[in-house]
């Protein structure tokens, strides 16, 4: 659970909950970007996600490396499951 999952910001939701729609391993999910409020991400930016929260902004190149690292560690399946499992503020 120490290994963060890279995701790309699709859309920032205009709400006080500071949520964003991200593409995370091919699925669209809402995550919290509250921890990045000091330097908010923009659509197209890459971030590292940990338990439904964006923890840091990274470059696209680093995101690709992180994906490859997850794959090599045999964690890609678990990451896929985690990404698909996020129910964070899913639409009612």
């Amino acid at each position: 659970m120490c290994l963060a999952i890279p995701a790309q910001i699709c859309e920032l939701l205009d709400d006080h909950l500071q949520l964003a729609v991200v593409d995370i391993l091919g699925v669209r999910r809402k995550v919290s970007v509250q921890l990045l409020q000091a330097d908010p991400p923009r659509p197209g930016d890459w971030v590292l996600i940990h338990v439904g929260f964006a923890m840091s902004k990274i470059s696209g190149e680093r995101a690709a490396e992180q994906l490859e690292l997850l794959r090599q560690l045999g964690e890609a399946g678990a990451a896929q499951e985690e990404a698909g499992g996020y129910q964070v503020a899913a639409d009612e």
Partner: protein
């Protein structure tokens, strides 16, 4: 066989390995601890030990959240789960971790409403969807994960979700490192510092390690090249007779950490006077409990929790392995009675646990060609 060429950037690896070889003092064992379970996993998976010269010994540290959780806390949590009014939620990593009365998964099989969540926000959502039930989130993790729990509690308060509570088992990395440094049977030459914990706490909290214990620490990324580069940086310090905090993972880790995360932690949590760590015993000020102002969402305040202490199975030597005194395969139960399918100790459960990593990757040791 393991060839350096299999890696993404073999030239970088070869260069780092050559520098490591040139920096080690022949005949002297350099004992380096990787604190984080993610590093342990990567070291085993990529066979880095076998690429390194024999003078480098890697000791696996306590940075795997499920591995350091004492059985008593699991028993306490599962007692809550047995209440039919309760929905017990936890990360998937927790599901097979054994307490003295079995794991969360076994409780589920016996009829308890145990659900895997991938984010604490998902547990809050389950509470909103089930207003007639009590939803408990069994929170584990170091400073990487604790801010997420804190922000979820802030949101629960904001939304007035009163049937939600958190059973906090969050621990903090610095007291564990200090306990290891103070342990009389431990001699370390340097630390490979945790990567993602440091995105939250930054690098400054490690300064006492360099200053008071004269021990180098390098915060490291998770790629094989990152880990080798961090070892180079530690060895350079040792060679120069220095001890300082360095940040190899600067592309992700800011020196000052993540201020919104630290602020949320401070608002919701306070330091516990002491907390039990599996294998390491009670460590003072090593864990986070929920502040009085959030007592209405603190499972330890709103639910009956006995606070049991349970001794680890006698034959298992998890404590010695956690402290790096024993290698995983030197435990009497390793691979025989204790396997990833039927774990007795928590180190065998998570892929970040030294025993599970050793079991998975350590047994198929093949001849190595490094250059």
């Amino acid at each position: 066989m393991k060839y350096v060429d299999e890696f993404r950037d073999p030239a970088l690896l070869r260069k780092a390995l050559a520098e490591i070889r040139s920096l080690v003092e022949p005949g002297r064992t350099h004992r380096l601890m990787e604190v984080c379970g993610g590093h342990t996993h990567a070291i085993f998976r990529f066979g880095l030990k076998e690429l390194l010269p024999p003078e480098i010994e890697l000791i696996h540290g306590p940075g795997c959240p499920v591995c350091v959780l004492p059985m008593g806390r699991i028993d306490d949590g599962l007692e809550l789960a047995n209440d039919p009014e309760c929905i017990f939620t936890a990360f998937g990593d927790m599901m097979r971790v054994p307490g003295s009365q079995g794991s969360p998964l076994e409780s589920k099989a016996r009829g308890a409403d145990v659900r895997i969540v991938y984010s604490p926000l998902d547990a809050l959502r389950i509470a909103q969807q089930n207003p007639e039930r009590r939803v408990v989130f069994f929170a584990i993790g170091f400073e990487t994960t604790a801010p997420s729990t804190a922000l979820t509690l802030l949101r629960a308060r904001e939304l007035g979700v009163m049937n939600f509570s958190v059973f906090s088992n969050h621990v903090t990395v610095i007291p564990a490192i200090r306990a290891i440094l103070d342990s009389p049977d431990m001699r370390l030459d340097g630390f490979i510092g945790p990567g993602h914990v440091s995105t939250v706490i930054g690098c400054r909290p490690y300064e006492f390690i360099a200053r008071d214990y004269r021990c180098p620490i390098v915060v490291s990324g998770f790629e094989p090249a990152d880990i080798l580069q961090s070892i180079v940086m530690i060895l350079r310090q040792l060679r120069a007779g220095e001890s300082k905090v360095e940040n190899q993972y600067g592309r992700v880790v800011p020196w000052a950490g993540n201020l919104p995360a630290l602020k949320a932690l401070a608002e919701v949590f306070e330091v516990r006077p002491h907390f039990e760590w599996r294998g390491l015993g009670f460590i003072s000020q090593s864990a986070l409990r929920i502040r009085e102002s959030f007592a209405a969402w603190d499972a330890e305040k709103v639910m009956p929790i006995r606070g049991v202490c349970v001794a680890d199975p006698k034959a298992a030597q998890c404590g010695e392995v956690l402290k790096g005194v024993l290698k995983p395969h030197e435990c009497k139960l390793f691979g025989v009675e204790c396997t990833p399918e039927r774990p007795i100790g928590a180190l065998m459960v998570s892929s970040e646990g030294a025993c599970a990593a050793h079991f998975k990757y350590g047994q198929t040791r093949l001849p190595i060609v490094t250059t």
